[in-house]
């Protein structure tokens, strides 16, 4: 290793002879103060570089090629999701084909796109917020809360099952967020959030198990269980109308102000001194992921591992900056869920291969591979 110290010029002492010979403690007199005011003013004007800290975001741009490539991939999978199905649309009456396309395939494809985007963005943002690359949206307890709410709603709420389940899931997600904030307190550190999230997640998970074991009827239990596995089969435009606004608003919140999450990688103190309000990022990420994940779980059940894996695939493409990875993770999450949903439909006829089961089947080995590779690559 080279050491450049010798190349440095001799120490210039250009302190206008003020503090140099008079490093007296505690305000060495008014003349000295007057003499240095000029220096102060000069350094202040020279430093007028950042009229607003929001401009710091400009330092980091995701390469357009990566965003474009991911968008193209997502669009292609979306088109495939519309085109592929048990019935070939070209061989049937046009009005029937139109009905199948608009009322069956379009909601399914749109939901896969939105839910994947919400999970990918939530995963990337939660990992950035908690500064933990192995965190997933589940660590906040939002998924567990949504699942509990949906199961209870399926049992007890009368009326249209779609709206009731969705409302229950959202109520559960909101409950989880409220519990998390109550436990961790406002302005909590990342470590506190993770700990509180683990507690909320475990509590709500246990309550879900309790609710399942107290199912009013075997049919209710079956319905609740299959719903929990996560699926996009037979979703309608009503499901889409329920979930879309929540996921879109949540994902937009998560994708805003990426520079704040980037700065958090250097610690909460550094982020604050770089001008990012300390409480803004946690609030934004928690509310955004509650909306995006809660909206998804509300209509499609739990789809595991997407939020954990996608940021890991994306971060190497975006220089490992956690904030910069959020938007591409939304696109990659959309592509992944679209692809996984296509796979479940490609499976042989018979009992449905659940989307949530498939993503977890693929995701778990991936996680193990990740941990093993991380161990091999450990710095020391």
């Amino acid at each position: 290793m080279r050491w450049g110290g010798n190349a440095l010029p001799p120490q210039p002492r250009i302190k206008s002879g003020v503090a140099e010979k008079d490093p007296a403690p505690h305000g060495g007199g008014g003349d000295r103060a007057a003499a240095v005011t000029a220096l102060d003013a000069a350094s202040a004007s020279a430093s007028r570089r950042a009229p607003s800290t929001a401009q710091r975001a400009a330092s980091f741009r995701v390469p357009a090629g990566i965003l474009g490539g991911l968008a193209l991939l997502t669009a292609a999978l979306f088109a495939a999701s519309l085109a592929i199905g048990p019935v070939a649309l070209t061989h049937i009456a046009p009005d029937v084909a139109r009905t199948i396309l608009v009322e069956l395939r379009l909601p399914r494809a749109c939901l896969a796109l939105l839910i994947g985007a919400g999970l990918g963005a939530s995963g990337a943002a939660v990992q950035g917020l908690t500064r933990n690359p192995l965190a997933s949206p589940d660590v906040t307890g939002v998924s567990a809360g949504a699942a509990l709410g949906a199961v209870l709603a399926a049992y007890y709420l009368p009326g249209s099952s779609t709206v009731a389940t969705a409302a229950g899931a959202l109520g559960g997600a909101a409950l989880a967020l409220a519990l998390l904030l109550a436990l961790a307190g406002r302005g909590a550190s990342a470590a506190t959030l993770v700990l509180a999230g683990a507690g909320v997640s475990a509590l709500l998970g246990a309550l879900t198990s309790l609710a399942l074991s107290l199912a009013p009827s075997p049919y209710a239990l079956y319905d609740a269980l299959t719903w929990l596995f996560g699926s996009l089969a037979d979703r309608s435009l009503v499901h889409l109308a329920v979930a879309a606004p929540l996921i879109i608003v949540g994902t937009a919140l998560l994708c805003s102000r990426p520079a704040a999450l980037d700065a958090l990688a250097l610690g909460e103190d550094v982020a604050a001194t770089l001008g990012h309000r300390p409480r803004a990022a946690p609030t934004r990420v928690l509310i955004g992921s509650t909306l995006a994940v809660g909206g998804g779980v509300a209509v499609a059940g739990a789809i595991g591992f997407v939020g954990l894996i996608v940021p890991h695939l994306v971060r190497p493409l975006t220089g490992h900056l956690p904030g910069r990875a959020v938007l591409p993770s939304a696109l990659a999450g959309a592509a992944l869920v679209l692809a996984a949903d296509l796979l479940t439909r490609a499976a042989p006829p018979g009992p449905e291969l659940k989307l949530g089961v498939l993503t977890t089947l693929v995701g778990a080995p991936f996680l193990v591979a990740l941990v093993l590779r991380g161990r091999a690559d450990a710095p020391r």
């Binding site: 290793m1 080279r2 050491w3 450049g4 110290g5 440095l8 120490q11 210039p12 002492r13 250009i14 302190k15 206008s16 003020v18 503090a19 140099e20 490093p23 007296a24 403690p25 505690h26 305000g27 060495g28 103060a33 240095v36 005011t37 220096l39 102060d40 003013a41 000069a42 350094s43 202040a44 020279a46 430093s47 007028r48 570089r49 950042a50 800290t53 401009q55 710091r56 400009a58 330092s59 980091f60 500064r131 933990n132 690359p133 980037d262 990688a265 250097l266 610690g267 103190d269 550094v270 604050a272 001194t273 770089l274 001008g275 220089g319 490992h320 900056l321 956690p322 710095p379 020391r380």
Partner: protein, 227 residues
């Protein structure tokens, strides 16, 4: 001028005040738990507590000071040059390269933070604080984890920063380095400012014996006999 008046962060730090002139390189010394990090955080506007801090008559805004925390943790594999760029308000590849070269980390520009040794990471994180050339630098142990040659390099860097007119306040346990390079020294003990003056005087025998309980002998520091 940096004016500090009545700054307190209970229970670690009692109310204290001092003034530093532009172009001053000041060392902050004191035993473990004396309140050095708490003071630096307080000057950076972190932590709740009373007191006023003004820089050139105004509250220091994020673009007018840089704070280097004592932690060298790095959870994500961000490249060194991207870490340093976070200290700038707009992209400037030349400034980033220059800052990395100044801390002898030019060859680490493309290396992820997670693949650096603690000392290398410390220098890259220091470059992040220096790159924007702010008028106030608050550095918590910038020479910790560094080998003697790099500690000397950093001491000279801080001298250069002071020479361009910046106020540099750095915490350090390397009393010999602080005494040799700093203009002024502030000594904290049990959350109180017990000495502030010329580094050569303040970091001399009497204060060392009183605050740290050590004296400087021919073979380095040794414990002072209790009075």
């Amino acid at each position: 001028m940096l004016h500090v008046d009545g700054l307190a962060r209970p229970p670690a730090l009692a109310a204290l005040g001092f003034t530093l002139a532009p172009g001053t390189l000041a060392a902050l010394a004191g035993p473990n738990g004396a309140g050095k990090s708490t003071l630096l955080r307080g000057l950076a506007g972190l932590g709740a507590g009373p007191g006023t801090v003004t820089l050139g008559g105004r509250r220091p805004t994020p673009d007018r000071f840089a704070y280097l925390p004592p932690s060298r943790e790095a959870p994500f594999a961000i490249a060194s040059r991207d870490v340093v760029a976070m200290g700038l308000s707009r992209p400037d590849a030349h400034a980033v390269a220059r800052a990395l070269a100044r801390v002898d980390a030019a060859d680490l520009a493309g290396r992820p933070l997670t693949r650096l040794s603690t000392g290398e990471r410390a220098r890259v994180l220091l470059a992040r604080a220096l790159v924007g050339a702010p008028p106030l630098l608050l550095l918590d142990e910038p020479t910790a984890n560094l080998d003697p040659a790099h500690a000397l390099l950093v001491a000279r860097l801080l001298r250069e920063e002071a020479a361009r007119g910046a106020i540099v306040l750095f915490a350090s346990h390397d009393l010999a380095l602080a005494r040799a390079h700093a203009d002024e020294a502030l000594v904290l003990s049990n959350g109180a400012l017990v000495a502030h003056g010329a580094a050569r005087e303040v970091l001399g025998g009497a204060v060392l014996a009183r605050v740290f309980g050590v004296v400087l002998g021919p073979d380095g520091f040794r414990e002072a006999l209790s009075a």
